[in-house]
């Protein structure tokens, strides 16, 4: 509260008047291009959502796009798997590995990280040679690796990246996109058909019950030895709807009996 009434507003208006004649900071983009150094790339920042959770879901797109490969990533993807990214040239592997792990804030022994030690990756070079070390054959290379090991060991993918020169992010992107490729050792596979006929017959409710009873979700990886829940790629010709298969064989499962069936299966396979 000033002693002279109206002094505050006069001060404020004086400031406005002064600014009015000063040079403007606003640039009429895109009509006028801003003056930015050619190598300027902005500031990297990880964002948090309104609940305080990290928004980054470790999709590796930024690491893949980075032209100078200065982005390292370490963290959990949406499937709960832990991954670390290394660029194609591995000269700085040691440093990258350590820094990525340190920055991820995780202790080193990690269930997903332990994929690294027990796998013999010599066979990977044979596979790569068969496909001419060609990153454009990546899907076939990954399928071949999965046929050899039964799943995609992270160590093998790392080796593919190192030998073929394809960025790990690209290999990881292909590997996680296709639902028949997996990063875990396979257990029993329960598959639900979600074709239109089966959906009309109520297979989505069956899928929901199975997900609840088996403690997983369609497409989500599960720990070794447990039951994997998948979506059947196409209806088995001639089978009745709704269709549920166990390791590829159709099962006599109905909407009412599915909970008991799943419980029996989980009980059997978890022992």
């Amino acid at each position: 509260m000033s002693f002279v009434p109206g002094l505050g507003i006069a001060k404020g208006m004086a400031l406005t008047l002064r600014r009015f004649f000063e040079p403007k900071a606003t640039i009429q983009y895109p009509e006028t291009a801003p003056d930015i150094a050619v190598r300027f790339r902005g500031r990297l920042q990880l964002l948090y959502d309104e609940l305080g959770n990290l928004k980054c879901e470790t999709c590796f797109q930024c690491a893949q796009a980075c032209p100078v490969e200065c982005i390292d990533m370490g963290g959990f993807d949406t499937m709960g798997r832990f991954h670390v990214h290394w660029g194609a040239p591995e000269q700085y592997a040691e440093r990258r590995e350590k820094s990525a792990l340190r920055r991820s804030g995780r202790p080193v022994p990690d269930p997903a990280y332990s994929h690294f030690d027990p796998v013999d990756t010599a066979v990977v070079e044979g596979i790569l040679e068969k496909y001419d070390f060609d990153p454009r054959q990546m899907l076939a290379i990954l399928e071949s690796i999965q046929r050899t090991y039964g799943y995609l060991p992270v160590a093998a993918l790392k080796r593919v990246s190192q030998v073929s020169g394809a960025p790990y992010a690209l290999i990881y992107g292909t590997g996680t996109y296709y639902s028949h490729l997996r990063f875990e050792k396979p257990g029993h596979i329960v598959a639900v058909c979600l074709c239109t006929s089966c959906l009309v017959a109520g297979s989505s409710r069956i899928a929901g019950t199975l997900a609840r009873e088996l403690g997983t979700e369609i497409g989500r990886g599960s720990a070794a030895g447990r039951v994997d829940l998948k979506q059947l790629p196409s209806h088995v010709p001639g089978a009745t709807s709704p269709l549920v298969t166990l390791d590829g064989k159709p099962q006599p499962v109905t909407a009412t009996g599915v909970a008991a069936w799943a419980r029996a299966l989980a009980g059997r396979s978890l022992t």
Binding site: R136, T174, T196, S204, L232
Partner: protein
């Protein structure tokens, strides 16, 4: 053989894709040659005028059998006119809809027509490589196509010296699996390049920049199989077999509450009622309550739509799509609101995650559907649903997200009574959803 019955059609429905009388052994090349296979390829090779084949196709007015329905002559011309030292022809036989087997049956019963059509296309646009993209699960189909390609190569119909012309057309078979979206053409090309399957902005269309950056002609097997018929049967006769703008026939998979589910070849433009008659009609006590036309991302049409013609424009106007060419007849025991919610959820789950309207918009749309089914609708739920759908359609990158809104929108359009029963009265007339039970379980406050 893929187990699927081919339905007998009335004599007035011409057979252009499936053989009228099933061949003893569809893979027997000598029998096929005697029946006229590769005759159109020979006349295309002997055609003295450059671009004559493409002109003939443009004149025929034939449009693709896929969900786009683009005039194929224009597509071929664009591909042929793009400067490039390497071109591809891709047969998209992936058929993403898990319930539909039409392309598989076509490739098993009439493989040489598809191979000939693709070879003509390759010859016309100057491509030397043809890629056949198939579902890896369809082992029988892969086997049949491999046998047919090997036989045709040995006979000199395709391969290093096509019918003595010196042109090279090499076929390769690529089994793919693991994603619903691979049916979309730009996604399929990504899959063939060994990358994660996400759609690309179009234009540039694949005819100018497709597989490995080269001009690529991509069609379904039904489109390729019709090409030899157009060229040999005369251009004039072809448009008369179907609705005015949609020359030719299409394979339809009919399932649900019909007497004889199976696959039928029908001309474009016949009414849905005529197609159901081919499948033996709807046996009592079943009644037609709704029709799911176009696969998981299709529209749900009311019984009044039985008089709608089966072609791209008519179905689009009615709120459905040709899509995978499937018709599921829904009887009175199914709740259409529940079905639409389930289908939207399915489409949301298949999203590749590239664009936000698809990844988040479809999820929100599926949640609206689920809330209505569970008896926990919020205020203005229908307005929110139509608003969000319009936003998704307006900002969509590929057809998957655009079509995924059809199910719920068609319920709003045609089944308003049933929808209102869920929202206003908390009841499900079909007795499928249990909205009341869920409403009681809702915590207070």
């Amino acid at each position: 053989m893929t187990a699927a019955s081919i339905l007998a059609t009335p004599a007035r429905f011409p057979r252009l894709l499936l053989p009228a009388t099933p061949a003893q052994d569809p893979l027997d090349l000598d029998a096929a040659l005697a029946a006229g296979a590769f005759a159109s390829l020979r006349s295309a090779v002997d055609e003295p005028r450059a671009g004559g084949v493409i002109d003939a196709l443009v004149e025929s007015g034939m449009r693709g059998r896929g969900s786009g329905g683009f005039p194929i002559g224009e597509k071929w011309r664009a591909c042929a006119r793009t400067e490039a030292d390497r071109r591809f022809v891709v047969i998209n036989a992936y058929q993403a809809d898990p319930a539909v087997l039409t392309d598989r049956v076509l490739l098993e019963t009439n493989p040489y027509a598809v191979i000939e059509g693709a070879a003509i296309a390759a010859f016309a646009v100057g491509a030397s490589e043809v890629v056949v993209a198939l579902r890896a699960e369809a082992a029988d189909t892969i086997q049949a196509v491999e046998t047919a390609v090997t036989a045709a190569e040995a006979a000199g119909c395709i391969g290093g010296d096509v019918l003595g012309s010196g042109a090279e057309i090499h076929f390769s078979i690529k089994p793919l699996q693991g994603s619903y979206l691979l049916g979309e053409e730009t996604v399929l090309l990504k899959g063939l390049e060994g990358r994660r399957g996400q759609p690309e902005q179009q234009p540039p269309y694949s005819t100018t920049r497709g597989l490995f950056g080269a001009p690529t002609l991509i069609h379904g097997p039904q489109t390729f199989a019709a090409v030899p018929t157009i060229l040999s049967g005369g251009i004039a006769g072809f448009p008369e077999t179907g609705a005015q703008a949609f020359a030719g026939t299409i394979l339809i998979q009919i399932s649900g509450a019909v007497a004889r589910p199976g696959i039928a070849e029908v001309p474009f433009g016949v009414t849905i009622q005529e197609i159901l008659d081919v499948a033996g009609g709807v046996p009592s006590p079943h009644k037609v309550k709704a029709l799911l036309v176009g696969g998981p991302s299709g529209g749900i049409l009311p019984p009044e739509s039985l008089s709608v013609g089966f072609d791209h424009d008519s179905l689009e106007t009615a709120g459905a799509q040709v899509g995978s060419g499937s018709i599921v007849v829904i009887d009175q025991h199914t709740c259409v609101v529940d079905l639409a919610a389930v289908l939207t959820r399915y489409c949301a789950d298949q999203a590749c995650g590239k664009t936000i309207p698809c990844r988040i918009g479809l999820r929100r749309l599926a949640e609206i559907g689920a809330r209505i089914c569970e008896g926990q609708p919020r205020a203005d739920e229908i307005a929110r649903l139509t608003d969000l759908s319009a936003d998704i359609v307006g900002s969509a990158l590929c057809d998957h997200e655009r079509r995924a809104t059809l199910a719920l929108l068609s319920v709003v359009r045609y089944f308003r009574d049933e929808l209102d029963a869920h929202i206003v009265r908390n009841t499900c007339p079909a007795g499928v959803c249990q909205p009341k039970a869920a409403a009681r379980a809702r915590p207070v406050g």
